[in-house]
Amino acid sequence: MPNIVIFSGSSHHDLSQKVADRLGLELGKVVTKKFSNQETCVEIGESVRGEDVYIVQSGCGEINDNLMELLIMINACKIASSYRVTAVIPCFPYARQDKKDKGTRVPNVPFLSQNVNHYELGNVYPSCRSEPKQPPALPWHESNWKAAVQEGKGRAPISAKLVANMLSVAGADHIITMDLHASQIQGFFDIAVDNLYAEPAVIQWIKENIPEWKNGIIVSPDAGGAKRVTSIADRLNVEFALIHKERKKANEVDRMVLVGDVKDRVAILVDDMADTCGTVCHAADKLLSAGATKVYAILTHGIFSGPAISRINNAAFEAVVVTNTIPQEEKMKQCPKIQVIDISMILAEAIRRTHNGESVSYLFSHVPL
C-alpha cells in the first residue's frame, strides 16, 4: 500500500509546509541547489520506491528555473521507482500562451446571461480589431515588448502545450492545478488533470469579511470572466455586473463601459489573475465614478509584476484579496491593502482524496475545514 510523500519545490515552500501540516505529514527531504554554472541539481533524500509522490511547485518568481526544477524532480522520482508521481502546480506557468493568436488581444463578444434583460444593452459594442502598427526598429529589448506585441504578425507558439508535453516527458502521471486560465488546457495533456476551483474559498471569505455582502454586486473586469462571476453571484444570491473594455494597446486600457448598476453598493471585482493590474485599477476607478461605495478586488493568482504594487497603492481599493498560490509575504509588506486567502486545505484535501481514490467533486462546491 503506497504512502503519501510530499516534496516541495523551491518556489513556495510555505504552502507546501501548510499542506503537509494539514495532512499530518512531514515534508519529504529533498536538496535543491544550483551549481556554479547555474545548473539546477536535485537530490531526493529519502526512499520513494513504491510510494505515491506529490510535488508541490508553483509557476511564479523565476518561472523558467522553477519549471526546470519541477521537471527534474518529477524525473528523479520517476526513475527512483515511485508508484505514481503527481505534480501539484497551484499557478500553472505559461497558461496565457494557450492559443496561436498573433499578439494583438482581441476583446471577446460579451457573454450575455439570462439576467441581462434588466440592464441596458445600449452600450454593448461589437468588438473591433485595431490596426497593427509598424514594427519597432529598436533592438529587441524587454522594454519594447509592449510595442512589439501590437504588431500582430508574430508566429507565436502554444507554450502551454509545450509545457504539457514537457511534464509528460518528465514522467508525471497526474496534475493537480487551480483555476487554470482556460480550462481547455486540460485537453493539452494525455494524463489526468484536476482543475480545482478557488471559488468556494472566495465565497467563504466574502461572507466572513465583507459585512454588506448581501447588498453587494459582483463585477467582472472583462467580458471573458463573466462565467466565473455569474456562478459566484448565483451562489451568493446577489446581482452581478460586467465591465467591457476595448484595448488599443496591450496592458493599456482604452475605454471601459460598465454594464449594470453599482450605485450605492459594495462592488466586488473578481478575476483569475492580476499581473500588472492595469485592468483591475481602471475597473476600480470606473466603479467608483459610477457610484459604488467600496471596491474590493478578489483574484486567484496575484502575480503582481512590474508596476502592479504602485498602481494598487494609488488606486482606491478597500482591499485586494489573493490566494496563496503565489507567495505574497513580500508584496504584503509593500502594500498593506493585500490580504491572503489560504487555499492549502483545498490542495491537501485533493491530495488525500486522490491518494485514497475518492471523489474530488466535493471540493468544487465546498471548502474543507
Binding site: N75, N144, P157, V169
Partner: protein
C-alpha cells in the same frame, strides 16, 4: 538485332518489279542481297498501301517543329514563371496557340507545381518547369534564428550568419513582466530548413526554455526541418544516475525531441554517450583542431621539448562540486592513461597530433564524501561492521583513500599545457598549476573548449601561476576577459557555419572529422 538502315526506295521498287514479274522470294533475295523477310515485308506493304514510298508514322502531326520546341524549352528554363503571352512575343517565329505549348511542356515532362503562384492558377498558360538546383530560394530555403534574448549571446550567431552570407531571421525573444518567456517569429518558415543557434550562458534554464519554445513555434509553423545548433550542451555533466538524482541530460534530450527538433549540432559533448539519449541524429563536432592550431601558432615552440599533461580533472572537478566520481584504479595511474577519465583520452589525442609527451596529474584535495554513499555502487562501502549480520560472510571493503596531488612524469623546464573540455570551477586547475610550478614547469597553459568561468574564476586565474587560459567562443565570456587579460579566445564559428551549410545541402560531414582520433 539492332535496326539497320532502311532499304532505299529504288531498291524497293526493284523488288516490286521483280515480284510483279512473278519471281519467287528466294530468287529476289539472292539477286538483290536482301533478307527474305525484308522482301516479304516490302511486298506486303505494297499490297496494302499500293506504294513503296515511306509512309509517315501514325498520330496527329505536330504543330510545333522540333526547333521551335527546343526554343520554348530554353525560354522557360531561363524563367520558369513566364506567362504565355510573353513567351509568344519572344517566339515571333512560331505562332503557337495556348494549348499547344502547354501540352509540349507536359510532354517534355518538366513539371513543378510548387513554383506556380496562386494568383495565376486560373491562367491556363503558366509554364511549369522542374527546377533542379539544391538551394532553391523559392522552394524552401535556409533560415537561421537565434533564440537568445541576451545580446552578448547573439554574437556567435551573428558571426555564423556573416560567414554563411545569410541574414539572421527576425524573431523577438523576451521575458515578460512575470518572467515568462515569449517568442514571436516575424517571418515565414513554412517549408524551410530552420537552424536555431542557442548559446547557453548564465541563465541555463531560461536558455533551455527559449530554445524549446522556439523549436515548438517553428514546428507549429510548418517548418520543413528544425536543426538546433547548441555549441555547449547544458546539463551535460548530469548524465549519470547519482543516488536519487535525475539524469537531466536525458530529460533535456527527451524534451527537445518532443518539442519537434529533427537534428542537433553540438560541440565537444562532455560525454559522447549523451548522443544516445536522443532519438534524432546528433553531430558532435570537435574544437580540437582550432585549439591545436592555436597551440602551434601562439605557444612558441622553442628549442626545448614540450610536454602536455593529462588532467585528472574529473576527479578533482567532481569533488569540488560534491558529486560521486568514478576514479581509475590505483595501478592504472602509473601508466600514461586514465581509463575512466575523459580528459585522459583528450590529452592523449592532443599529444599524438602535436607529437609531444604526456604526464598525468593524479589525486585531489581531501574531501569527506564517504557519508553520502548509499550503497548503489559496487563494491558497496561499509560504514560500520555492526550493521552487517554476523552470519553473512560479506568481505569488508576498505574505502579507497586518495593521496595528495602528484604529477607522474617529468615536467622540469618544460611548457605545460593542461587540456580539458569544460573550465568552470577553477580550483582543481589552480591546484594542478601550483603543483606543476613546484615541479619545475616554466610556463603553464590551460586549453578548454567551453569556458564557463563562473563566480570569481577570473580573479583566481589572474592571481595564479597559470600563464594563459585559452577557451573557444561557444560561451560568451566578455566580462571575464575584461577582469582577467590572461583569458584568450579561439573563434569556432567557421566549423559551425560549415556544418550548417553541409547539412542544408545534404553533403557529407566527414571532412569536418578527418583528423579526429577515435578517442577525442
Amino acid at each position: 538485332m539492332s535496326r539497320s538502315k532502311e532499304v532505299s526506295e529504288d531498291l524497293r521498287k526493284t523488288v516490286i518489279d521483280a515480284h510483279q514479274s512473278r519471281k519467287g522470294y528466294k530468287t529476289i533475295c539472292k539477286d538483290l542481297g536482301l533478307h527474305q523477310s525484308t522482301v516479304r515485308q516490302i511486298v506486303y506493304k505494297w499490297r496494302k498501301f499500293k506504294t513503296t514510298v515511306t509512309l509517315p508514322r501514325s498520330g496527329r502531326p505536330t504543330k510545333i517543329s522540333p526547333r521551335t520546341n527546343r526554343k520554348i524549352i530554353k525560354e522557360v528554363t531561363k524563367n520558369p514563371r513566364v506567362i504565355s503571352k510573353d513567351l509568344q512575343a519572344t517566339l515571333a517565329l512560331a505562332i503557337v496557340s495556348v494549348h499547344d505549348y502547354q501540352k509540349k511542356t507536359e510532354e517534355e515532362d518538366v513539371y513543378d507545381s510548387t513554383t506556380e503562384p496562386r494568383a495565376e492558377l486560373y491562367q491556363p498558360s503558366v509554364a511549369r518547369i522542374k527546377t533542379d538546383t539544391a538551394m532553391n530560394a523559392q522552394k524552401g530555403g535556409l533560415v537561421i534564428f537565434t533564440a537568445n534574448s541576451n545580446p552578448s549571446c547573439m554574437a556567435l550567431a551573428k558571426r555564423i550568419s556573416e560567414r554563411l552570407g545569410v541574414v539572421l531571421g527576425k524573431v523577438q525573444v523576451y521575458q515578460e513582466a512575470n518572467r515568462e518567456t515569449r517568442v514571436q517569429i516575424q517571418e515565414s518558415v513554412r517549408g524551410k530548413d530552420v537552424f536555431i543557434i542557442q548559446t547557453v550562458s548564465k541563465d541555463v534554464n531560461t536558455a533551455i526554455m527559449e530554445f524549446l519554445i522556439m523549436v515548438y513555434a517553428c514546428k507549429t509553423s510548418c517548418a520543413r526541418s528544425i536543426i538546433g545548433v547548441i555549441p555547449y550542451f547544458p546539463y551535460s555533466k548530469q548524465c549519470k544516475m547519482r543516488k536519487r538524482g535525475s539524469i537531466v541530460s536525458k530529460l533535456v534530450a527527451s524534451m527537445m525531441c518532443k518539442a519537434g527538433l529533427n537534428h542537433l549540432i553540438t560541440m565537444d559533448l562532455h560525454q559522447k554517450e549523451i548522443q544516445g539519449f536522443f532519438n534524432i541524429p546528433v553531430d558532435n563536432l570537435r574544437a580540437s583542431p582550432f585549439l591545436l592550431q592555436y597551440i602551434q601558432e601562439e605557444v612558441s615552440v622553442t628549442k626545448m621539448f614540450q610536454q602536455t599533461f593529462i588532467k585528472q580533472a574529473e576527479a578533482a572537478h567532481n569533488t569540488a562540486q560534491n558529486r560521486k566520481h568514478e576514479t581509475a584504479d590505483r595501478e592504472d595511474n602509473d601508466y600514461l592513461n586514465c581509463r575512466l577519465n575523459n580528459s585522459g583520452f583528450r590529452a592523449q589525442s592532443f599529444a599524438e597530433r602535436l607529437r609531444l609527451g604526456i604526464a598525468v596529474i593524479h589525486g585531489e584535495a581531501q574531501d569527506a564524501e564517504s557519508d553520502l554513499v548509499d550503497g548503489r555502487h559496487s563494491p558497496p562501502t561499509v560504514k560500520n561492521v555492526g550493521a552487517i549480520h554476523p552470519s553473512l560472510d560479506i568481505p569488508f571493503v576498505i574505502p579507497k583513500e586518495k593521496p595528495p596531488i602528484t604529477v607522474v612524469g617529468d615536467v622540469g623546464g618544460r611548457i605545460a599545457i593542461i587540456v580539458d573540455d569544460i573550465i568552470d570551477d577553477v580550483d582543481s586547475f589552480l591546484a594542478a598549476a601550483d603543483t606543476l610550478k613546484e615541479r619545475g614547469a616554466y610556463k603553464i597553459y590551460v586549453m578548454a573548449t567551453h569556458g564557463i568561468l563562473s563566480c570569481d574564476a577570473p580573479r583566481l586565474i589572474e592571481e595564479s601561476a597559470i600563464n594563459e587560459v585559452v577557451v573557444t567562443n561557444t560561451i560568451p565570456h566578455e566580462i571575464q576577459k575584461l577582469q582577467c587579460p590572461k583569458i584568450k579566445t579561439v573563434d569556432i564559428s567557421m566549423i559551425l557555419s560549415e556544418a550548417i551549410r553541409r547539412i542544408h545541402n545534404g553533403e557529407s560531414m566527414s571532412y569536418l572529422f578527418r583528423n579526429i582520433g577515435v578517442d577525442d
